[in-house]
């Protein structure tokens, strides 16, 4: 994601927000893809269903970009699965995401505040109240 972040304006394509979610989950605990998909869909912050192809595609991209790394983990009796974990570069990337999300949250709060004022003005107008 680094190449898509302008550090001054912090504009990030919203479809890549799944990367922030995956980075956070991997920061909490190293996981393989199967488990990550389950954890992601169970997370309260997830909007809509995260499909298998999207999750694996983003994991491969982040692995290639050095935000996470992976190795094969072979269970005692179960199957071998690729285990993903966060790298120091991934931790930095997650912090940038948090900065971006905080900015977006502030903007949304300003929008809601402006709407609230607009709604109040409509109410006053309908009820004959005129304020300077």
């Amino acid at each position: 994601m680094n190449e898509n972040i302008d550090k001054n304006t912090l504009t990030i394509p919203i479809e890549r927000s799944i990367q922030a979610e995956l980075l956070l989950l991997l920061g909490q605990k190293a996981s393989h893809g199967y488990e990550l998909i389950q954890r992601l869909n169970d997370a309260d912050f997830k909007n809509g269903e995260a499909d298998t192809a999207t999750v694996y595609r983003n994991l491969r991209r982040m692995d290639k970009d050095g935000l996470i790394n992976s190795h094969w983990e072979v269970g005692e009796s179960g199957p071998g699965r690729r285990l993903y974990q966060l790298t120091p570069q991934g931790e930095k990337s997650l912090k940038i995401w948090v900065q971006y999300i905080s900015q977006q949250k502030a903007k949304l709060e300003i929008f809601l505040q402006a709407y609230s004022q607009y709604e109040e003005s409509l109410f006053n107008e309908e009820n004959g109240v005129h304020k300077p």
């Binding site: 893809g33 998909i37 269903e49 298998t52 094969w72 690729r82």
Partner: protein, 274 residues
């Protein structure tokens, strides 16, 4: 690497035919004088061939659960999950009702007496028992009691098509209107297909508990006895036979398939590398 006059024997899911061909081509370019014998079968049949004493170096199956059920630990020590997929309904431009069929009405189209559809043999091929699971889950998902039985009755006898790749050929040759396949097979053959909701297409681990409600009886490794298997997200896996005389080469081949080059090949073939 010493590979003079050696033959690597691979038994694989029919659905992996293109993947294995591409991997063999890639692997051969780095291993001169190595020959391959690749056999595509229904994965359940493939695992049973090992049980019956046939020798292969590498086993690549469409259902990772087959390793635990039939092969580990006696014939295979460890195995690796390398790809995911989903069940879809493939068709052709000539299929009856193809103008109207969609994700919400597919069962109505397929149950039209003028329409033919098929699935593979559930005793031999995971795509066969996964199709039965899709029908069971659809009964609940679409609130259509009795749908499973109706689909079973209307379907072309499963024994005609041992593995899902045979179904794909039947579609291409116009022998059936619709067939339940892996998405990757439809992609590889350029066939149009209907995707199903993720709660029934066995693609998403998020729905593992829901999939588990589906259960199918298949022939076990004990002749004459059946076992019940439950629905799971679709995962392909690969392992090396403990009897392999080419362990180093087999390991290199598995590393190719599970590494970056293998991932590219899997994506080209419409599978999701894991």
């Amino acid at each position: 690497m010493s590979s003079l006059s050696k033959t690597l024997r691979i038994i694989h899911a029919g659905a992996l035919q293109q993947v294995i061909r591409k991997c063999v081509k890639h692997f051969s370019s780095h291993n001169a004088n190595l020959t391959f014998e690749a056999t595509g079968v229904g994965s359940r049949e493939g695992a049973k061939r090992l049980l019956s004493g046939e020798n292969y170096d590498i086993i690549a199956l469409a259902d990772q659960a087959l390793f635990a059920e039939l092969l580990v630990p006696d014939l295979v020590k460890s195995y690796y999950i390398f790809a995911a997929d989903q069940i879809v309904i493939g068709y052709s431009q000539l299929s009856k009702g193809s103008e109207e069929i969609n994700q919400g009405n597919w069962f109505e189209t397929l149950l039209d007496p003028q329409v033919t559809f098929a699935r593979s043999d559930h005793h031999l091929d995971p795509c066969g028992y996964r199709t039965l699971m899709v029908w069971q889950l659809s009964e609940s998902f679409y609130s259509r009691p009795g749908l499973y039985s109706k689909m079973e009755s209307a379907c072309i006898p499963y024994s005609l098509y041992p593995k899902s790749l045979d179904l794909a050929s039947a579609l291409v040759n116009g022998k059936v209107d619709y067939a339940f396949l892996y998405s990757s097979e439809a992609e590889q053959l350029g066939l149009p297909y209907i995707t199903l909701p993720s709660k029934v297409n066995l693609s998403n681990p998020a729905h593992a508990n829901f999939y588990d409600q589906a259960a199918v009886s298949v022939e076990s490794k004990v002749p004459g006895k059946n076992i019940i298997i439950h629905g799971k997200p679709i995962e392909f896996a690969i392992g090396i036979s403990k009897e392999s005389q080419n362990l180093e080469l087999a390991q290199s081949f598995v590393e190719l398939l599970t590494g970056p080059d293998g991932n590219s090949i899997l994506e080209e073939c419409g599978l999701i590398p894991c």
